[in-house]
């Protein structure tokens, strides 16, 4: 089991390796001789981005963690304009942030291949909504490739660059969690000499304002060009190596399976023991190549489309069939749910029903038996780590602001402050929204200064992470200050982008190519004109509480930067360096069993011993912040060992 960051640079064509879909895509980009990669992390796309960061210097690729998806998109796009192969990657909602540039730039085309990797998250394992990027592809008239396995993801990445260059059109490579976060056997291909020799590639931007300036007179020319191109691409895709027809040639029943659904369909058919069907495997859900449909529909009497999320393929197929006078039954979303992710169970259930068969396993009876389990299994939602500085910050905010305050928050690890016992998150919407919502609530509930005030002021304390602050918090902060808001904004600065796996950001200053220029959040807040700016260490709960009090009392926009390194990051570094940290324990003589540590603070390393009626510390996961010792009124938490 070699290191992934080594494997993706192995010069061993033909070698079989086990790679995560995201790693396979990174390898594909390297095999395709990528020159520039820019992205903002987001689950489930982040391992692609992090792998590119880890190998950038060794492969001669320029790689940056951009401040948000729009900026990343623009960085990569401009490289593609300059004739270089470029890629950006994001989670599905990242494309919402990049959408303005994305939709405006389609008609300008590209010179070097430009691939937009977008990772969707059906079932929302780590996301705030369930959206299907293929709908965006259709909206923008950009072709979308969708792999059915990690190996295919690698091959498709290379093809995506070629397709993009051939048509001078951007291309989306769309994955889902179950491709991005699935490991599979992948066969390595050739690496280009430039990658092997770490030779940085440079482009050439040819000025052409008629193309690169989208004033209305130019933009008007783009739309028909886009529509013409996509029809040419549709024709080309009939020959695409990721689209094919298989199964029984003279079958009466056909199944269309786009992307990963193909894998589930294959497993379902094998499980059912069915082989007298014809399958259209589609690697390009948009645009669906009509020529393949003609071949596929020949001789069929019924068709089922097994598709995850939106009926993107279904609508294209039905319109095509209608226009071509084909009147056989075509089913899709009436058999396969439109919400949540596709599974083998879903595929096998839909196909069994379509063919009038029994499912190989009685799923309903499993569900029935499982009801008993649901009734007794305690929930185990994710929680803030032991020693997480966010916990202390929330604890101090709640104490200082009181129970009637409103707490708009944002997206990051600190969203977990929603859960009991902290419950200091009242709203989260999308990245950066905490500040806009805080301001809007202030307008709605308190009115702006100078307005006639009739009621008692509501205290509003927003929380936002450091990475999120730079991502989309900046314009919102400018807005709040400009419009004379009266809110407290706490930037929970744990000096990493933690939720998505420990990436750097402007507040940390590191880049994959060495030191960048660090930007301090407090400097930004002061420069913008915030009325109160202070930095505090959340490991000192009392000091944090006092700063919060002052911030709340100050009229106007107060910005508190609660700065302390992410505990998970710190523990990782300390382990690597062989360092130790203090481990706490409960002095049972002093513990009165008041449960403040559990019912108000809630560190996962602290649990309740119901027999002794005392709190206990699990030494295996105590990461030594000492927050428990600060919140316990009886001094019952003591250092057991100065490091283990």
């Amino acid at each position: 089991m070699a290191k992934v960051t080594d494997i993706v640079l192995w010069d061993k064509p033909g070698e079989r390796v086990l790679l995560l879909g995201n790693h396979a895509i990174a390898r594909g980009a390297l095999e395709a001789n990528i020159a520039v990669f820019a992205a903002y992390p987001g689950t489930p796309s982040s391992e692609l981005t992090d792998t590119m960061a880890a190998v950038a210097e060794k492969a001669g690729v320029y790689m940056e963690y951009s401040t948000n998806e729009k900026v990343a998109f623009e960085t990569a796009l401009s490289a593609a304009w300059s004739g270089l192969r470029a890629m950006t990657a994001m989670k599905h909602v990242g494309l919402n942030v990049a959408a303005d540039t994305f939709l405006s730039a389609v008609g300008m085309g590209v010179e070097g291949g430009f691939v937009i990797m977008v990772a969707d998250d059906p079932s929302m394992w780590s996301s705030q909504n369930e959206q299907d990027t293929r709908v965006y592809a259709k909206f923008a008239q950009v072709p979308v490739l969708e792999p059915s396995s990690p190996h295919e993801a690698k091959e498709m990445t290379k093809y995506a660059f070629e397709l993009s260059e051939k048509f001078k059109h951007m291309v989306i490579l769309r994955t889902t969690t179950r491709i991005s976060h699935a490991r599979g056997d992948v066969v390595l291909g050739e690496l280009p000499e430039e990658i092997k020799q770490a030779k940085r590639k440079f482009g050439d931007f040819k000025k052409d304002p008629s193309r690169f300036v989208d004033v209305p007179s130019n933009a008007r020319r783009f739309h028909p060009i886009i529509l013409e191109k996509i029809e040419k691409i549709r024709e080309e895709l009939a020959e695409c190596p990721f689209n094919w027809i298989e199964g029984k040639e003279d079958a009466k029943v056909g199944i269309i399976a786009p992307g990963l659904a193909y894998s589930y369909v294959k497993e379902a058919l094998a499980w059912l023991g069915v082989d007298d069907v014809k399958i259209l495997k589609l690697g390009t859900p948009f645009p669906v190549p009509y020529k393949l449909l003609e071949k596929f529909f020949d001789g069929l009497e019924r068709v089922l489309i097994v598709e995850e999320l939106e009926p993107v393929v279904e609508e294209q197929v039905k319109v095509w069939a209608f226009d071509n006078g084909i009147r056989i039954p075509i089913h899709g979303k009436d058999y396969v749910p439109r919400v949540y992710e596709m599974t083998t169970r879903r595929a096998v259930t839909a196909i069994a029903k379509f063919l009038g068969l029994e499912t190989p396993v009685n799923f309903e009876s499993i569900d029935e038996k499982y009801k008993k389990v649901s009734a007794i299994v305690p929930p185990r939602p994710p929680s803030l780590c032991p020693a997480c500085p966010h916990r202390n910050t929330f604890y101090a905010i709640k104490k200082a602001a009181g129970p009637n305050a409103i707490f708009p928050s944002d997206i990051g690890c600190y969203t977990l402050g929603l859960l009991p016992p902290l419950k200091t998150v009242d709203t989260t919407v999308a990245m950066g929204a905490s500040i806009g919502v805080a301001h809007g609530l202030d307008v709605a509930l308190n009115g702006v200064p100078g307005e006639k005030e009739t009621k008692e002021k509501k205290i509003i304390v927003a929380t936002i992470g450091d990475s999120t602050f730079f991502h989309t918090g900046l314009p919102a902060l400018a807005n709040a200050i400009y419009n004379r808001s009266n809110v407290v904004i706490v930037v929970m600065d744990n000096l990493v982008t933690a939720m998505t796996g420990d990436q750097p950001n402007p507040g940390t200053g590191d880049t994959p190519h060495g030191p960048g220029k660090r930007i301090l959040i407090e400097d930004v807040a002061k420069a913008m004109g915030a009325d109160f700016v202070e930095v505090v260490d959340p490991y000192d709960i009392k000091a944090t509480y006092e700063v919060m009090k002052k911030a709340i009392e100050t009229e106007g926009v107060s910005v508190v930067v609660a700065r302390r390194i992410c505990a998970l990051h710190r523990v990782g570094e300390m382990r690597r360096r062989g360092e130790k940290w203090p481990i706490y324990t409960v002095n049972e003589e002093k513990c009165t069993g008041c449960k403040i540590c559990i019912n108000a603070y809630g560190c996962p390393a602290i649990y309740w011993d119901a027999e002794k009626k005392k709190a206990q510390v699990n030494p295996l996961i105590c990461w030594g912040c000492g927050g428990c010792a600060q919140v316990c009124p009886f001094g019952a938490f003591e250092v057991m060992k100065e490091g283990e």
Binding site: R178, A182, R183, D185, P604
Partner: protein
């Protein structure tokens, strides 16, 4: 060559579940199988309940094991075995670490932790599986470091009746994967897991 073999690994984020799944995936790959390992990264890794899937065989497709198709469930924590019991096929085996990690909700008195008897009863009577439990942390400490808990459990897993990979092969993959200075304790941890499972299964 086995046609298809399905392992479900469950536990609490931070217990090394993804590492275990990855090791087993490589072991299957080196044995010449097609492989899929299904994971979820991000939010759930923060001390929440975690499930990973390892599938291999002549042909494997999706990365997730469907309900009712797991040959074996390897649980790093007892209640996490029960939480995902719907994945087990009838007659399948559940190997569980016996050390409970009480969720915060339990400590707060908002939920209760089921007894081992209750867990066993549902697994064996309702889901027609077989449960064996071992104190993997204790064995890991005996091997030299509690960090090897997952290796103890992988050792035990290789003793599942009908397990298609040989214990020696899996052990070798682990030997090549861990840092040099940690080889000995990992090998010992693996052997302790093998021994414990053999006894529990009466092999």
């Amino acid at each position: 060559m086995v046609k298809e073999y399905n392992i479900v690994i469950t536990g609490v984020g931070g217990q090394g579940i993804l590492t275990a799944a990855n090791l087993l995936g490589w072991a299957a790959l080196h044995a010449g199988y097609k492989v899929r390992v299904g994971e979820v990264h991000g939010m759930s890794q923060r001390f929440g309940s975690v499930i990973a899937y390892v599938r291999f065989g002549e042909d494997v497709y999706g990365a997730m094991v469907p309900e009712g198709k797991a040959d074996v469930i390897l649980a790093f924590e007892p209640v996490e075995a029960l939480r995902y019991i719907n994945y087990l096929k009838e007659g399948g085996l559940v190997i569980a670490n016996s050390n409970p990690i009480p969720p915060v909700q339990v400590s707060m008195g908002l939920a209760t932790y089921p007894s081992m008897e209750e867990i066993k009863k549902i697994i064996e009577e309702d889901f027609k599986g077989k449960l064996i439990t071992l104190d993997a942390e204790k064995l890991a400490l005996e091997a030299g470091n509690v960090i090897t808990t997952n290796v103890v459990l992988i050792g035990a897993l290789t003793q599942t009746p009908g397990f298609p990979l040989s214990a020696e092969h899996v052990k070798e993959v682990i030997r090549l994967s861990v840092p040099k200075k940690a080889v000995d304790i990992n090998m010992k941890a693996f052997e302790l897991g093998v021994k414990a499972a053999k006894e529990l299964l009466g092999l």
